[in-house]
Amino acid sequence: MQFGIFSVSDVTRDPVRDYTPTEAERIDALVQIAQRADEVGLDVFAVGEHHNPPFVSSSPPILLSHIAAVTKQILLSTSVTLITTNDPVKVAEEYALLQHLAKGRTDLMVGRGNTVPVYPWFGKDIRKGLHLALENYNLLHQLWRQDVVDWEGEFRTALQGFTSTPRPLDDVPPFVWHGAIRSPEIAEQAAYYGNGYFANNVLAPNFHFVPLVNLYRERFEHYGHGTKEQAIVGLGGQAFLARRSQDALDTYRPYFENAQIYGMNSSLEEYKELTPMSVGSPQEAIDKTMTFREAFGDYQRQLWNVDLGGLPVEMALEQVELLGTEVVPVLRKEMAARRSPAAAEAPTHASLMREKYGDAAPRRPRPSANRGDNVTGTSPYRDGDPAYRPNYPQVG
């Protein structure tokens, strides 16, 4: 099972110090947080994609490729990559390039995004958000699995004989998680492809996402990827920890009360009772996280948000340390002790390589000589299928 952190990259005024970081400071802080997570042995660092202030992560693949260069073992992911407003061709290209640079230490989570004006900024219609998410992922899936793609859909220019480059590392596409909000169609798509399904598990009552996760599990089995118990489930959460429970409450309270996102009408005590948020001692976070397993079944990835709402970077780094040194080691043992032997491990590049190739050598595509176009002839790769013929556009 993987444990890690995810950030939305908000730049928020620290209400205690009355200090708003610059964008430059926040970007540096995100890199530091990822590095510390790597050092303390967390498995995953994920960052969101936003196109409006006060957020700084407009391009997760750029941020993550830098982080890949300054970390050693941690897997880099997104929370989420906007599959609605991005061109799936660019997503395919950028995340494949990132996968090469990170030597396979990367996957991604696709989601719709909930900021209404972002859609028109990118020429899209939010009323078609679900259609866009579904169709764009269908194309992304194909672009990473076929060297040459002919495509026609509702939302983007048709493709004729298109090759997304570079091909995925070892010809093994990055693993994809689908972010859950409320649509059963997204659960269905994740299940159909055998991809992961991630419920952010924040800003909602405890166990709110159980029906959707159960639907995904049932459909995963329906499509023959394994049993319900073998489906690939991820959960979010939030944590603010201190060795003494009361210190955590006292320190975190001004940040909680300043954050509009929590509705500003609940006490911190109520909020941590009613939602998956952990505020307290490491043991309390451990106990709460174990309840996730009880409700959702064995799962593969647990991410916490630890830097939202203006926490100074030193405090966020301390949170990462507490998670890495006091919470996660215990959770690894406790989860493993209760885990069904049938439950799947979290997919990684190494496990996907084994699944695809066993002990055989992986495919590492080498392009043929440049023909100046990508439409005529056979595959642009030396090991391509010589029988392939493109589906020419009908003109006139």
């Binding site: 269905e188 159909y192 009552p205 959707l212 009408n265 609940s266």
Partner: protein
């Protein structure tokens, strides 16, 4: 269940009242309507029961649910009572030429499909008869949005109405209308016949929503989810 009363079913009448004082004239009016309705149901040979949902004690919980999506156990229980009801009596005071904001906020946190074809009596109290149209002009459209089935008669009570036999007559008429709707099972039949044609949130709170985990996988969106599309046959393959 065809003829009510033979099946042993107890018809549940939920009374949602937004009165805030104690004693509240809004609650008193609602109780009168509820008793009359129960009497009318029983006169038709059916059994019924009344459950009160008082909104005033839930005011903070409702406000929190509006602003943060968090619903307290007490509010969940109130919503569940309304969801499970065969009929609902709604009673609100009139404030500033409108229904109580508390009632509107409560309706705002209900699932959109929670009241589909549920028979409802609309009732209100006010300090002046000049507010009489608030019920039919404002509350009726709200219940129309919820696709509920308001009785033809609404019950409005200004101070001068409390001593008038005409108020009792209107209460009786509304109660009779509600009982007729319940006994004819018109709401249930409409729901049976149209449920699939309404929009539903997945795993919502409507009583029928729990049964609807038998999702329809044969929709355009579901086909799109499984690799199909405008120009691609479903399951066009790529592994």
């Amino acid at each position: 269940m065809d003829a009510l009363g033979q099946s042993g079913t107890v018809l549940r009448i939920a009374v949602v009242t937004a009165g805030v004082s104690d004693p509240s004239s809004t609650r008193m009016l609602a109780a009168r309507i509820a008793e009359q309705s129960l009497g009318a149901v029983e006169a038709a040979g059916a059994a019924g029961e009344i459950q009160f949902v008082e909104l005033a004690p839930l005011a903070v919980d409702i406000a929190r649910s509006v602003t943060s999506r968090l619903t307290s156990a007490a509010l969940e229980e109130a919503i569940a009572t309304v969801a499970a009801a065969d009929a609902v009596i709604v009673a609100t005071p009139v404030y500033k030429a409108g229904i109580s904001g508390l009632l509107k906020s409560f309706v705002d946190v209900l699932d959109e499909d929670l009241l589909i074809a549920t028979p409802v009596i609309l009732s209100a109290t006010a300090e002046s008869s000049r507010h009489a149209m608030v019920l039919d002009g404002q509350l009726r459209p709200l219940l129309a949005f919820m696709r509920a089935l308001p009785t033809p008669t609404s019950v409005f009570a200004a101070p001068e109405d409390w001593g008038s036999p005409e108020l009792s007559a209107r209460v009786r008429r509304a109660a009779t209308e509600l009982a007729q709707m319940l006994i004819s099972r018109v709401g249930e039949r409409i729901t049976d016949a149209t449920w699939a044609q309404h929009r539903h949130g997945f795993a919502g709170r409507a009583v029928r929503a729990e049964r609807s985990t038998d999702l329809d996988f044969d929709t355009d969106l579901m086909r799109l989810a499984t690799g199909g599309g405008a120009s691609h046959p479903a399951g066009g393959q790529l592994h």
